[in-house]
Symmetry: C2
């Protein structure tokens, strides 16, 4: 068992272990005061893991209810959120009880936001079951739902009570889902850790599962450090947004028919290509990034008008009145946050 403690305003532990899903009842038994839990999950994860989790919880005396919504980004909506609220209400969940987010990023984000706001806040636990959610969205307390006009536009900072991370759940991911998580993993290497990036260079989509424990642990450790330094996303935490300013706009351009990981992969390559063109980074940074992206079956280019993409960046959450923040890597393992006017950003990209 590996354990990482995140020292935020409300500190918590991340437990990483093979088969920990079968013992989640024991783990939570020693952490939570309540014995009443509401599991929120999607239909795919429900059929894979809900029974295992519920058996473990009930064996420890927990009373459990469960809400299941359709898998996919479209469910991260105000309307599904409203259904979750009604479910909690109907099941008499009180502010001393606890929600369980069982699933990927969509489940974690919307459950966390429900926990941040239902009865003005109650506890929640993350049980992430995808690479993306294990190394990124389940850690750091960012919760959100999407609006029609953009992704993650409504949300709150709410740290979980703990994160239970079972690498065995990654065995059920298909190559697309694995690649999706690898885009964020590559991001961590790019912004903070050249040796982690080298690990990715020395593997590919077919054999990265051989060292996935190490990948999960190292990525979470980087995220932990960044989040501890800037819990509320006022400065340094923005480095996690490498590839995301353009990535979010690309997702929006494709009306979310493109996966987050694919969009971020393209976003990282596009912004690094601009950084290279502007003389901010060496050519080998761009070459190494693109080669690594390719090795995980991720896309690195875009055949649409960049004017449309840049326009969509104007509704980016990181935008301030007339300026926009974005991240570039001048070398592998090192990132810089740039704050420029909307016009200068436009010139930089186009």
């Amino acid at each position: 068992m590996k354990q990482i403690t995140v020292n935020t305003s409300q500190g918590y532990d991340i437990f990483i272990n093979h088969g920990i899903l079968f013992k989640c009842g024991e783990t939570l038994s020693s952490i939570l005061n309540t014995r009443t839990l509401a599991i929120i999950t999607d239909d795919i994860v429900n059929s894979l893991y809900a029974e295992t989790v519920i058996n473990s919880l009930t064996s420890q005396g927990f009373k459990v209810c469960k809400f299941v919504f359709p898998n996919g980004e479209n469910s991260k909506s105000i309307s599904v959120l409203n259904e979750i609220y009604d479910f909690l209400c109907q099941n008499n969940i009180t502010r001393t009880d606890c929600l369980i987010a069982l699933g990927g990023g969509v489940v974690g984000d919307i459950t966390g936001f429900a926990a941040a706001t239902y009865l003005r806040g109650l506890d929640y636990v993350q049980i992430p079951t995808t690479l993306l959610s294990q190394i990124d969205s389940s850690v750091g307390g960012k919760t959100a739902v999407n609006l029609n006009c953009g992704k993650n536009l409504v949300g709150a900072f709410k740290q979980p009570r703990c994160v239970i991370c079972d690498p065995d759940t990654l065995l059920t991911l298909n190559d697309e889902q694995l690649a999706d998580g690898m885009a964020e993993a590559i991001k961590y290497g790019m912004i903070r850790d050249e040796s982690l990036f080298e690990l990715f260079e020395n593997h590919d989509i077919n054999n990265i599962m051989d060292c996935i424990d190490d990948v999960v642990y190292r990525c979470i450790s980087i995220k932990k450090n960044v989040v501890e330094a800037d819990e509320f996303d006022k400065g340094e935490r923005m480095v996690l947004n490498f590839g995301h300013t353009l990535g979010h706009a690309i997702e929006k351009f494709y009306d979310y028919e493109i996966s987050h990981g694919n969009a971020v992969a393209i976003g990282m390559c596009l912004i690094t290509e601009r950084a290279y063109r502007a003389g901010i980074c060496e050519e080998n940074v761009l070459d190494r990034l693109i080669n690594c992206i390719k090795a995980y079956n991720l896309p690195y280019e875009l055949n649409v008008s960049m004017v449309a993409i840049v326009n969509l960046c104007k509704s980016d959450k990181k935008r301030e009145s007339d300026s926009i923040n974005f991240v570039i890597c001048d070398k592998i393992g090192h990132s810089i946050i740039k704050k420029v006017s909307i016009n200068d950003f436009q010139s930089f990209i186009l």
Copy 2:
């Protein structure tokens, strides 16, 4: 000009002055960094005060957009909230801009919640225009919207950047609206301040406006002290819930066709009658409360089954797994928080 500073996690000032509405631009000019504001208001307040406020703001160089929704408790919904989010999006409001809640409790609560969650939080300013919102809901950072199954069930703690309180706006209130606010004012006297209660005993609905400045200032001062001692409603702040445990259930029973003030007035009388019956308070506490309630044209009794009301209390936000918190006043100006099992609460009430 009177000024009260609230020393919460994010401290802020409450400015109370006749005609301050005409100068709100100057007041905000010295407090806010942004020059972009989004006013949220309802149709009635819009026709009364929006022009005054917008003129003052634009004269100081603020760029202002405005969203108007129908007056009334029904608007404090997830669906109006969603419209507000879309409006903020369409108007390119960023996380460094600021929302203005111009109106009564519904406007303040929903705007505050939008500010707590849009882009994971941006600033907002309260400009309360009813007695209820000036002395209660605009101070203390509790924000919320209603669900079908209950009031204020979704929300967040989010302190405003400042509160601008113009007693002149109370001149446009009708007797029902004034009485509605007086229920909360009487509550402050009951829980904390016998001399304030005596002021109410020495006036009635026809002449309380003669000393309304004093009423507003003293009520806000009590709320400030309670909120400072317990910003996140973990203990002492629950005294503000005197009359509200039953009051909320009564509102729900009548499907919100009864006003909040009327429901709280009845709730205070019912719980005090039970406290008297149980020997916890003297008879004159109940007599004085009922006489005071009557003097402000507020109701003090209920001709419906208390079993139904008690059942509705089970979805009270203040409920914990198997227990419920409620407040009683053993004497005028002094309150006690009781935590009992649901069953004991039922026996106490029935």
